[in-house]
Amino acid sequence: MRQLWLLPSMLLVSLSSMGEEFLPDKVYGEQECVECHQKVSAEIMGNHRQGRHGSGSIGCSDCHGSSHNGSLARSRANRSCTQCHTDVEQRSYETSKHGVILTLEESGWDLTKPLATVSVRTPGCAYCHLSDGDHAMEPKADGDPKICGKCHSTRYLKILTSSGEAMEEVGEMKVLEAKWLLKWKGGDLTQQEQKELLDSVKRHRHNLHLGVVHHSPDFQWWHGQPALDGDLIRIRSKIAEHRWTSN
């Protein structure tokens, strides 16, 4: 009964959002979404099925909720992504300047409007990963002027992108060095030890990648590069230790 006061506003919202006004405000099951949207938005549905979400078990309601009421605004809010994409994915975004602005201002944004119309001040997850409503969520080129160009100059984006690529190349060199060390000099190490060392390398390499694409200096550096330097030292020390003990 306490939620009764919500009813008028919910009605208002659903009436004002285009294309949703004919629909009864009820809770829909996943099957219902699919059946109807196969007809009304076949392209998006096909797109979704091709993508990683659709080929997995992520359905419409996971992001849009199970009612038409405010379903678009809900999916545009960052929360709809960070409920699953937690930990480093969330942190690397939230510590970027984009993320900071979003944390501070998102509650004041009108998310019923499409994101690409500069109705929001800074890109959240969906702004980039679902630009053009791409429900397959194909990986986006970092610094694509079509996505970032509404605020940043083409020249800036070009330099930023190539700098990010170079940063990742350095990280990749560290990964190659680690693999090379383990393969050619780490013969004495047990499988378990090798796996643990390599997992740490991969984790830090992933952090670096997230730092570059989400523009979080903290992930590029402290969770990335020097952490990888530490991994290389640990691998070498471990190999050296094994040599002394077998000596």
Partner: protein, 584 residues
């Protein structure tokens, strides 16, 4: 040259300059006497001297400070402000000196020291002082200005800073340090008015135009003029500039003056962040795309939009704690984690969204403090003006006359909400936390330095790529242990035990410090437990290193390999290590 045996029987102290030189050359050329001296050096008592000196220096931290003070540059700058010299060490003194001497600081110093030397020489001659004393005075008088001239030369290369000759900037650096590196490079050749800029950019980059429209620049509240694009970027499209603090400070004069004033507190500070980043040895040594990550945060000294994001430049935004976390997060400075875990942070998280952020950061305006409320109270654009413990990276005496002034500033601030005695108690709590942390750190440092004295660090500094950029290190390979030896750059190309100490010092120790400073006791406990574990494992590893071998040169070599140890390449080879050796 023939040698007169009588020479050697004379005491060293009674020799004049010429006799001294002749004895030195004689010793150097005569095999028998060299051997005689070598015998003396072989005596067990003498052999222990270097180690004893090392122990003495390690255990006596006052001596370290004294050593810094003895440096002539520090002495010269001493008159400007004693505690600044103490805090910042030699390099800071150079900076303070250069500032007090104006633009031509080094040359003014050259003249001063030259005249001073002349007067001294005159006085000494008049008092009949031996000639070698006068020679020493003259040499020092030459050395100081030469040092400054060398400093000038070292700053004149393609990069910036002390090692500017050793590196080339990455193209991206122009955006992090526009004053030094921005290249306008636009092919639109015309001069535009503010309205024209907006008209065109409304279509090209609508996001930034919208931001500007929402800013105070576009709608000043107190009858000031509207600040349009050309005010900051210039109006000639072929020669646009990116704003830096000087440009912003054209109008925001108070804030710029505060930023300039912050420099006198030394590093860590916002105002000196970029200078220190590019002067770090690992910055110069590592491939530039890699260390570009550093500049993004250290650009807080060279741009204003680190806190007031473009093009809204909102003060309200910078007052919020989140605006600091882009840089103040992560392992060495978990300011976000420790603040949000504190009572202050919890109140802010719960209620902050509803507060009126247009209010200045003053007593009574906010229920709980944010980062800026304490560190930049009343909007003062200097985070270092109350910095006592220096980020926790080195041990300081919290009760020097200078630091007592800073402590009073903290107490006054905390008293916005808390009792005076309570505030003082917190500061004392911080002192205690630091004492505990440094006890553990010095123990670990001692273990490492003992290992170094006994040549047991493996791989030994000569058996791995040299310490970044250090010419001395190539001549005399040496492990760099502790803050004063440059531990901050010793996190790669080092042995396992050195990296362990780096992590203990830079990660766990700083976590403890931040937790204590922000009021997160659970964080302090967690960090100190981690430090105990670190110390324990460092001690164990040291024991292992001592017992596992007698000759460090044999380390890291598989038993079957009969090649030279370095040929195995365990520490020298590898894609990145090789690339890093050739690229900076």
């Amino acid at each position: 040259m023939s040698m007169r045996p009588a020479d050697l029987s004379k005491s060293w102290c009674s020799l004049n300059y010429r006799q001294l030189w002749s004895r030195m050359t004689t010793i150097a050329r005569t095999r028998s006497s060299v051997e005689r001296y070598m015998d003396v050096l072989e005596r067990p008592v003498i052999k222990r001297v270097p180690k004893l000196v090392a122990r003495l220096v390690n255990s006596c931290h006052i001596l370290k400070t004294l050593l810094l003070l003895i440096s002539p540059t520090a002495l010269l700058a001493h008159h400007t402000d004693d505690h600044k010299v103490l805090i910042g060490g030699v390099d800071e003194a150079v900076r303070v000196g250069a500032q007090s001497g104006g633009v031509d600081g080094p040359w003014a110093w050259f003249a001063i020291s030259f005249v001073a030397a002349l007067i001294l020489v005159g006085l000494l001659r008049w008092r009949g002082v031996p000639r070698y004393v006068i020679t020493t005075v003259v040499l020092v008088a030459i050395a100081i200005p030469s040092g400054f001239t060398l400093l000038d030369i070292s700053r004149s290369g393609s990069g910036v800073g002390l090692y500017s000759n050793d590196w080339e900037p990455d193209p991206m650096q122009q955006y992090w340090d526009p004053e030094n590196f921005y290249n306008p490079n636009s092919n639109i050749k015309s001069v535009f008015s503010g309205e024209q800029c907006i008209q065109c950019h409304q279509g090209i980059t609508p996001g930034i135009v919208r931001d500007w429209r929402e800013s105070r620049h576009s709608a000043p509240t107190n009858g000031e003029e509207v600040v349009r694009c050309p005010a900051c970027h210039g109006d000639d499209h072929t020669n646009l500039h990116l704003p830096n603090p000087t440009i912003c400070g054209g109008c925001h004069t108070t804030q710029l003056a505060q930023v300039e004033d912050e420099k006198k507190y030394g590093f860590p500070s916002h105002a000196l962040a970029m200078e220190r980043a590019v002067d770090a040895k690992h910055f110069v040594d590592k491939p530039k795309p890699e260390v570009l990550s550093c500049l993004q945060c250290h650009s807080v000294a060279t741009k204003c939009d680190s806190c007031h994001t473009r093009h809204r430049f909102s003060a309200a935004e910078a007052r919020r704690s989140e605006s600091c976390i882009t840089c103040h997060s992560g392992t060495p400075h978990p300011d976000d984690k420790t603040y949000f875990a504190s009572a202050h942070g919890k109140i802010y998280r719960e209620e902050g969204a509803d507060w009126d952020w247009s209010q200045p950061l003053k007593k009574g305006n906010y229920k709980a403090p944010t980062c800026a409320y304490c560190h930049m109270e009343e909007g003062i654009h200097s985070v270092a003006h109350k910095s006592i413990w220096k980020f926790g990276i080195r041990e300081i005496n919290p009760n020097t006359s200078g630091n007592k002034v800073l402590r009073e500033r903290w107490v006054t601030l905390c008293m916005d909400c808390h009792q005076e005695e309570e505030s003082r108690q917190w500061l004392r709590g911080m002192d205690e936390e630091r004492k505990d942390a440094w006890n553990m750190l010095y123990k670990a440092e001692g273990v490492l330095k003992d290992l170094r004295s006994d040549d047991k660090i493996t791989p030994a500094p000569g058996d791995r790529p040299p310490y970044p950029l250090d010419k001395m290190d190539q001549l005399w390979p040496r492990a760099h242990i502790g803050f004063f030896e440059g531990q901050a750059s010793a996190f790669y190309n080092v042995s396992g035990i050195e990296r362990d100490y780096f992590e203990m010092w830079y990660f766990d120790n700083l976590h403890g410090y931040k937790a204590a400073a922000h009021g997160d006791p659970a964080g302090v406990e967690e960090a100190h437990k981690a430090m105990e574990r670190d110390l324990d494992s460092i001690e164990k590893r040291a024991e292992q290193l001592r017992s596992s071998t007698t000759d460090s040169a044999e380390m890291g070599v598989p038993p079957s390999a009969d090649t030279h140890p370095q040929d195995d390449g365990l520490w020298f080879d590898g894609r990145y290590t090789e690339y890093n050796r050739e690229t900076n």
